[in-house]
């Protein structure tokens, strides 16, 4: 086959190949320029003393953009970002649950799914307790509990939801 290639066919193939190479180089360069330089971001954030975190309530840690709550002796760090579309989910004191303002997703105190369009429960960060102080690793995100999973705490809404009051 190769001995039959004439000059016309060679030039025709060569310039197309050249253009393709330049296009590839351009695409790779653009990708390399535009891809995010930083990793997932964050790191270990030193937060509050473990005995400050109440049973039945949450503590917001703005620096970590997370909430801390407790089940028995276990401390849970819940990311503020709604797993639906990234809104910050405020904790509603009077109902004792998380209520997302964007699309009305509702989660219990542990960030487990109650209602709304979210695909799963609220994401969590690993925590480490050193000398009674909680460290939250915001670089690592654990996907929240599944939508269908039963709630692990028995805390029905304590009162009316915060919707309508803001």
């Amino acid at each position: 086959m190769n001995e039959h290639i004439d000059r016309r066919a060679f030039v025709s193939k060569a310039w197309k190949g050249g253009v393709a190479l330049i296009g590839l180089a351009g695409a790779w360069t653009s990708w390399d320029l535009l891809r995010p330089r930083r990793g997932p971001g964050g790191g270990e954030v030193r937060t509050v003393a473990a005995d400050v975190v109440p049973e039945g309530g949450v503590v917001e840690v703005t620096a970590a953009r997370a909430y801390l709550t407790r089940v028995g002796d276990e401390i849970v760090a819940i990311s503020e970002k709604c797993p639906h579309l990234g809104c910050r989910v405020p904790f509603c004191e009077q109902s004792g649950q998380f209520e997302c303002p964007c699309h009305g997703s509702v989660f219990n105190r542990l960030g487990e799914y109650r209602e709304g369009p979210t695909p799963r429960g609220m994401d969590r960060h690993p925590v480490r307790i050193e000398d009674g102080v909680i460290f939250v690793d915001t670089a690592r995100v654990e996907a929240g509990p599944d939508k269908g999973a039963p709630e692990t705490i028995d805390e029905p809404p304590a009162g009316p939801s915060c919707a309508g009051e803001h």
Binding site: H84, L85, P101, C102, P117, P119, G164, H166
Partner: protein, 180 residues
């Protein structure tokens, strides 16, 4: 043809002194015949279309100027990553999408539906191969398109005006949460 000088139904032409009639010819009014415009006829773009476009442009700009004088563009408080406003509203042209997002899994409402809409729109001329252009002879496609259009407009209006804090239903005349 009756002789115009003897036909009693005709008035005599007024003659000024010293002038005489050389002849009377059937003709057209000096302003030209008025003919009904033929819609299939070709007309010059300059000036016929250009003057219309100029008027349309002025009308559009007039609307913009009036709106700009009467209503200021919104500016809320400075961006704050630690606090999501309640309600959080998308721009109005995405309100229908936001409404769908509150009802369905984001993979459906946020990915599948917009993709289907755009691909469907782009493929429309290749799906609808019926060469007829009058609406009466393309009932199916017109009805389908109209249903989707109305649905989209209704969803947009709901998402824009009828949704309040926590994306709950509100009546826009009771409390207003629309954002432009």
């Amino acid at each position: 043809m009756a002789d115009p000088t003897t036909d009693p139904g005709r008035t005599q032409p007024q003659l000024a002194a010293g002038r005489r009639v050389l002849g009377i010819v059937p003709g057209t009014p000096a302003t030209g015949t008025r003919k009904e415009p033929d819609r299939d006829e070709m007309v010059m773009v300059w000036p016929h279309l250009l003057v219309r476009h100029a008027v349309a442009a002025l009308a559009v700009l007039a609307v913009v100027l009036v709106l700009a004088v009467l209503f200021d563009a919104p500016l809320r408080e400075i961006a704050n990553p630690t606090n999501t406003p309640n309600p959080e509203k998308a721009p109005w042209y995405f309100a229908a999408l936001q409404e769908l997002l509150s009802l369905f899994h984001p993979q459906v409402a946020g990915v599948l539906v917009p993709t289907a809409i755009l691909v469907g729109l782009a493929a429309l001329p290749y799906i609808d191969r019926n060469p007829e252009t009058s609406p009466g002879r393309r009932k199916v496609v017109v009805a389908t398109f109209t249903i989707f259009l109305v649905l989209w407009v209704v969803l947009t209006v709901i998402g824009f005006a009828f949704r309040g804090p926590n994306w709950d239903w509100v009546w826009p005349w009771v409390e207003w949460h629309g954002e432009l």
